[in-house]
């Protein structure tokens, strides 16, 4: 981890409230692992703290961030221009753990809304640059409010993933949430072949996912499930203790112990 001023290459609007910001830094691109984030100083005036943003994609020396406009910080970032320097600290966080996984197992990615951001980089790593690409079935579940908000489906397809969609209004794919879609799939499996899940999205999604796994998988404890968490942060490097979340082992820091946690270790908020 290092503080750097990196060059903004491109800012591309993908949807009215979603944009792709690409920065160039060979060093950053080489170090970055899926699930890690950059702690971004959006600009000098509008905000005080940095904003933690997941690494969305890597292309050679470039890293892209997929950003949803949420407030002052992300709006300020959208106003930046190519050629300008962006101050970032990173890559930060633990990232997804890619331990050996048996052939024939199923890899399932579950994205809720903007939670798709880190999963594209993960899909890149799972299929492209891996020494031995995984051979089993690969499914990407993408959830959004409406058809127009479904993100990155072609990126997953291009990497050999079967894409399934869920929209709240039913305008694309299954009507309902991405977890209901996951429930359909888990219920249809009915066997105990190896399954690993990587999920990112709103926090409540994780606990509904855990309930689904416990209910529908024959051996729930053998399902490897890693989830990438979001939390307001201070320093991003583990010193301020602001981004704590409750786990079975007490509070953990999203910035340093996470942002990726095993689903089994999380504790629901309000139960701490």
């Amino acid at each position: 981890m290092k503080e750097r001023a990196v060059e903004i290459r491109r800012i591309t609007q993908k949807r009215p409230d979603i944009f792709l910001l690409t920065v160039r830094s060979a060093a950053l691109a080489n170090q970055a692992r899926p699930g890690q984030f950059l702690h971004v100083k959006t600009d000098e005036c509008t905000t005080i703290l940095r904003r933690p943003l997941s690494i969305h994609r890597r292309e050679k020396q470039d890293l892209s961030l997929l950003v949803k406009v949420r407030g002052r910080g992300t709006r300020a970032l959208l106003r930046r221009a190519p050629g300008e320097r962006l101050n970032v600290i990173g890559p930060l966080g633990n990232g997804f753990t890619l331990s050996p996984f048996p052939d024939g197992g199923t890899t399932m990615l579950i994205a809720g809304g903007i939670g798709v951001a880190p999963l594209v980089f993960l899909a890149q790593r799972l299929t492209g640059t891996a020494k031995r690409p995984s051979t089993g079935r690969k499914i990407a579940l993408i959830g959004a409010r409406t058809r127009g908000e479904v993100l990155c489906a072609p990126e997953f397809r291009r990497r050999g993933f079967t894409v399934k969609k869920a929209t709240e209004d039913g305008s694309a794919g299954r009507k309902g949430s991405v977890i209901e879609l996951a429930r359909d799939l888990l219920a249809a499996r009915g066997d105990a072949r190896p399954l690993r899940i990587f999920a990112c999205g709103p926090e409540q999604m994780f606990f509904r996912l855990r309930a689904a796994i416990n209910e529908l998988c024959p051996e729930p404890e053998r399902v490897r499930c890693q989830v990438s968490f979001e939390q307001f942060m201070g320093c991003g490097v583990g010193v301020c203790c602001a981004c704590a979340i409750p786990t079975r082992q007490g509070y953990k820091k999203v910035c340093k112990d996470g942002p990726v946690f095993s689903l089994h270790e999380l504790k629901e908020r309000g139960t701490e």
Binding site: L49, Q231, C235, V239, C241, C243
Partner: protein
């Protein structure tokens, strides 16, 4: 002024610091974690995250929220307790040769006294800062909201250590000079001004407070004029040195605090954004002194008061 430029050494209480730029408690961890992200050479001392007798797990999340011009936090003194601090963190600090001040906190006077007694024997501790002002401990009152308590607690600690004793005060009082005088009377070697202000924010969509513990401490650029005013007032009221801070982001901000009466400055929220900020601020201070032909940073302390008299 010697050839190496203006002297940046300052004396605060019983020891000297190589730089007048100090990292405020809670914003720099224990000082050791940042590694290459920080520039330790510019830092006079790191004030550690507050240590308590027993470990504390901290407050319910969310613990931080940024508002338009400042930052709300409610960490709740998460820390591993004094025993692990002495066993694991102090050796690391000494190995890295980082000058450090230990911030201590507690819920009773005897806890502060015990902590001070333990730290008195720990080599490398430059000073003990009494956190008398944490807004995130749910006590009826903070110690530094009560002059009698402040004096008594400082005096109790004073009896148990030969180290420099710094009292860190809350700005949340009717008259901070009364509390400052009480700490001085109790035997404090120096004062640290100020801790955060009480504050809160609510989510207008859900109606829920943004912090898990409802309210917390407010810091950042918004509080700078408020903190500066308190440093100014306290400088007039006491004769012990003041470490001044609250919303400092630039060298100019720091200069204002020196002019108002600070002998050293503390960086808080800005550390979380720019871990190397102490270096830039120290450099900016040096450039300012050079430009004005002032040989030592200590000469700047309180200059604003002289100027104000002449104008008035």
């Amino acid at each position: 002024m010697n050839r190496r430029g203006p002297s940046m050494n300052v004396r605060v209480g019983r020891c000297r610091y190589r730089s007048p730029v100090i990292c405020a408690s809670g914003t720099f961890g224990y000082g050791t974690e940042l590694g290459a992200l920080a520039d330790y050479s510019a830092i006079g001392a790191v004030t550690t995250k507050t240590v308590t007798l027993d470990p504390r797990e901290g407050n319910r999340p969310p613990r931080i929220f940024e508002t338009a011009h400042g930052v709300l936090n409610s960490i709740g003194l998460e820390n591993p307790g004094i025993e692990r601090f002495c066993r694991e963190i102090v050796p690391a600090l000494r190995r890295m040769k980082i000058p450090f001040i230990v911030s201590i906190g507690g819920t009773t006077q005897s806890e502060y006294e015990e902590l001070a007694r333990i730290l008195d024997r720990v080599a490398g501790v430059k000073a003990v800062e009494l956190n008398l002002s944490c807004p995130n401990l749910r006590l009826k009152k903070m110690v530094s909201q009560e002059k009698v308590l402040t004096k008594k607690l400082v005096a109790g600690v004073r009896r148990r250590t030969t180290k420099t004793v710094i009292a860190k005060l809350t700005p949340e009082v009717t008259d901070i000079t009364e509390i400052a005088r009480a700490a001085e009377a109790g035997g404090a070697d120096a004062l640290s001004l100020v801790n955060t202000y009480y504050g809160m924010a609510l989510n207008v969509e859900t109606g829920v407070p943004r912090l898990g513990s409802v309210y917390g401490g407010y810091s950042g650029r918004a509080i700078k004029p408020l903190s500066l005013y308190r440093v100014w007032r306290v400088y007039q009221a006491v004769s012990i040195p003041v470490i001044g801070g609250g919303g400092i982001e630039t060298a100019d901000d720091a200069i204002e605090f020196f002019l108002a009466g600070a002998s050293a400055v503390s960086l808080g929220t800005v550390n979380m954004v720019y871990p190397k900020c102490a270096a830039g601020i120290k450099k900016g201070l040096q450039a300012y002194l050079r430009r004005r032909g002032i040989p030592r940073i200590a000469r700047l302390t309180g200059e604003g008061h002289e100027r104000a008299k002449r104008v008035g």
